[in-house]
Amino acid sequence: MNRDPMNSAFDMYRMMAAAAEACTRYAWAGPAQGAATPTDTAQQMARLYMAFVNSGYRYLARWAEISAKRYPEFAALSSGMGATRLVTDAEMAALVDSLRAYLREMSDLPVEEAKRLQSEIDAIMGAQNAAGSEKAAAAGPADPQTRGRRRARAKR
C-alpha cells in the first residue's frame, strides 16, 4: 500500500503519544500511604518524565499532522505553475494564503504545546502537594521549630 510518508510519521508519533499518555495516567494510580517517602519523589519524577516524553511526541505528531495536511495543498496549488502555463493572480494569492496558514500553525505549535505541558506539570506538582498536605494534616501539629521553618520556606 502506498502511503504518504508524512501521514505514516504522523500515525507513528500519534500512537507513541497516546501510549505515553496512557502510561502517565495509569501507571502509578495507587496513592502512597503514610508520610512522604523516597518512593513518592520517584513516582513524581517518573510522572514528570513521562509528561515530558508525551509532550515531545505530541509536538512531533502535530508537526507531522500539519505538514501532512498542508503539503498536498501546496503541491496541488503549485503543480504546473510556471512550467507549462502562466500563473494567475488568483492561484498565487491562494498559494500565499496557504503558506501563511502553514507558517501560523507551525509558529503556534510550540507555544500551545508549552502551555499544555505547563498545565500538566502544574497538575502533577499540585497533586503531589495536595497529597503532602493531607499527610501533614493527618500527622497532626508539628513542633514549633518545624512549623517555623516551614513558614519561612513558604515565604521565599
Binding site: 493572480d89 488568483a90 494569492a93 500551545e112
Partner: protein
C-alpha cells in the same frame, strides 16, 4: 422624565422572542438565561432616573444573549456544578459591554434600527446614547468589584476591542488575504468570545476555543450578510462600499481585477456592483473554510475541556448562522 421613563417597568422581564427562546431552550440554558435577565432587569430598575429610559430601551428589547450562553457553556464544560453567582455576574457584565459596542457601532454607522426598533441614538439623540454607553461601562466594572479576574477580563475586552476596531478601519480597502481576515476576526469578535470563555471557565484553558468560536461567528455573519444580499437581489453592500475585509471578500480579491476595484477609494456604482457580485460568488468557498474553522474549534474543545459536549453544541449552533 420622558414618556419612556414614565412607562412602568413592571416586576418581570418581558418575554423572550420565540426564536431566541427556542435556541436558548435547545441549548439547555433556559433557567440560566432567566436568572441573567432577572439580574439585568433589576439593574435597569435601580439605575439613575435620568439614565433609566435609555437603559430600558437598550436592554429590555429583543436580545439573543449569545455571549452569556458562551459563558454558561464554558462553565458547564469546565466543571459539573451549576452557574455560580460570580459567573452569572460576569455574564451580565459581558452582555452590558456587548451592548456598549452595539450602541457605538450604531452611532458610527448612523443605523436607524436594530432588532426591529429604533437605535438608541435615533430614539434619544447622540449625546444621551454616548453617555449611556459610558454609564454602562462604569456599572459593568462596578458589578464585578469583588472579582479581580472578572475586572481584568473586562479591561482586556475593552482595550482589545478598541484596538481591533481601529485596526479594521485602518486596513480598509487593502489588498489583504484570508490570513489577515483571521487576524481581524480573531481580534474583533474573537476577543469577545475569548473573554466569555475565560469568564465561564474561570481559567485560561478555553481561551483559544473562545477565539476560534468568535472567528467562526464573525465568518458566519460575513457569509450570512453576503447571502442576504443575494436574497435581496443584489445591490451595494455596506461592507463592500467601505472596503471592509469580510471572509468572502478576502477570497474574492484574490482576483486582480476585483482586488483593484475593492481597493479604490471612490469606486463607481458599476464597480461596486461587480465587486459585490464577486463577493457573493465566493460564498460557497467561504462556507468550506468555515467548516474547517468549526473543526479547529471542535478539536480545541475536545483537547481542553473536561466535558466538551456543551461546546460542541455551541459550535454547531454558530455554524448554522451563515445558512439562515
Amino acid at each position: 422624565m420622558t414618556d419612556v421613563a414614565a412607562e412602568s417597568i413592571g416586576n418581570e422581564p418581558p418575554p423572550l422572542h420565540p426564536v431566541d427562546e427556542a435556541v436558548i431552550s435547545r441549548l439547555g440554558y433556559g433557567p440560566d438565561v432567566q436568572r441573567l435577565r432577572t439580574g439585568l432587569f433589576e439593574w435597569v430598575a435601580t439605575a439613575s432616573d435620568e439614565m433609566r429610559p435609555q437603559l430600558q430601551w437598550q436592554f429590555c428589547g429583543r436580545a439573543k444573549y449569545f455571549r452569556p450562553l458562551t459563558v454558561f457553556a464554558c462553565c458547564r464544560a469546565s466543571r459539573p456544578d451549576r452557574v455560580s453567582p460570580e459567573i452569572l455576574r460576569g455574564a451580565i457584565a459581558i452582555e452590558l459591554l456587548h451592548n456598549v459596542s452595539l450602541i457605538v457601532d450604531d452611532i458610527l454607522d448612523a443605523s436607524d434600527e436594530r432588532r426591529g426598533v429604533a437605535t438608541l441614538h435615533r430614539r434619544f439623540g447622540a449625546l444621551p446614547a454616548l453617555m449611556a454607553s459610558g454609564y454602562v461601562v462604569a456599572d459593568a466594572f462596578r458589578m464585578l468589584a469583588e472579582d479581580a479576574m472578572g475586572i481584568r477580563l473586562l479591561a482586556e475586552l475593552l482595550r482589545r476591542l478598541g484596538v481591533a476596531e481601529c485596526l479594521q478601519w485602518r486596513l480598509r480597502r487593502q489588498p489583504l488575504g484570508v490570513e489577515d481576515w483571521r487576524v481581524l476576526a480573531g481580534e474583533d469578535t474573537g476577543t469577545m468570545f475569548e473573554v466569555c470563555a475565560c469568564m465561564g471557565a474561570r481559567s485560561e484553558d478555553l481561551r483559544k476555543f473562545g477565539r476560534l468560536l468568535g472567528m467562526l461567528y464573525h465568518g458566519c455573519d460575513d457569509v450570512g450578510d453576503a447571502r442576504g444580499l443575494e436574497a435581496l437581489g443584489g445591490g451595494g453592500d455596506e461592507d463592500v462600499r467601505d472596503g471592509i475585509l469580510t471572509l468572502p471578500a478576502a477570497l474574492a480579491i484574490r482576483d486582480s481585477r476585483i482586488r483593484a476595484q475593492f481597493c479604490k477609494a471612490d469606486p463607481t456604482v458599476a464597480e461596486l456592483q461587480e465587486t459585490a457580485d464577486a463577493v457573493r460568488g465566493r460564498v460557497e468557498e467561504a462556507e468550506v473554510y468555515l467548516d474547517g474553522l468549526a473543526d479547529e474549534a471542535r478539536a480545541e474543545a475536545f483537547t481542553r475541556a473536561p466535558n466538551p459536549e456543551p461546546l460542541f453544541a455551541l459550535i454547531d449552533h454558530t455554524r448554522q448562522l451563515s445558512r439562515r
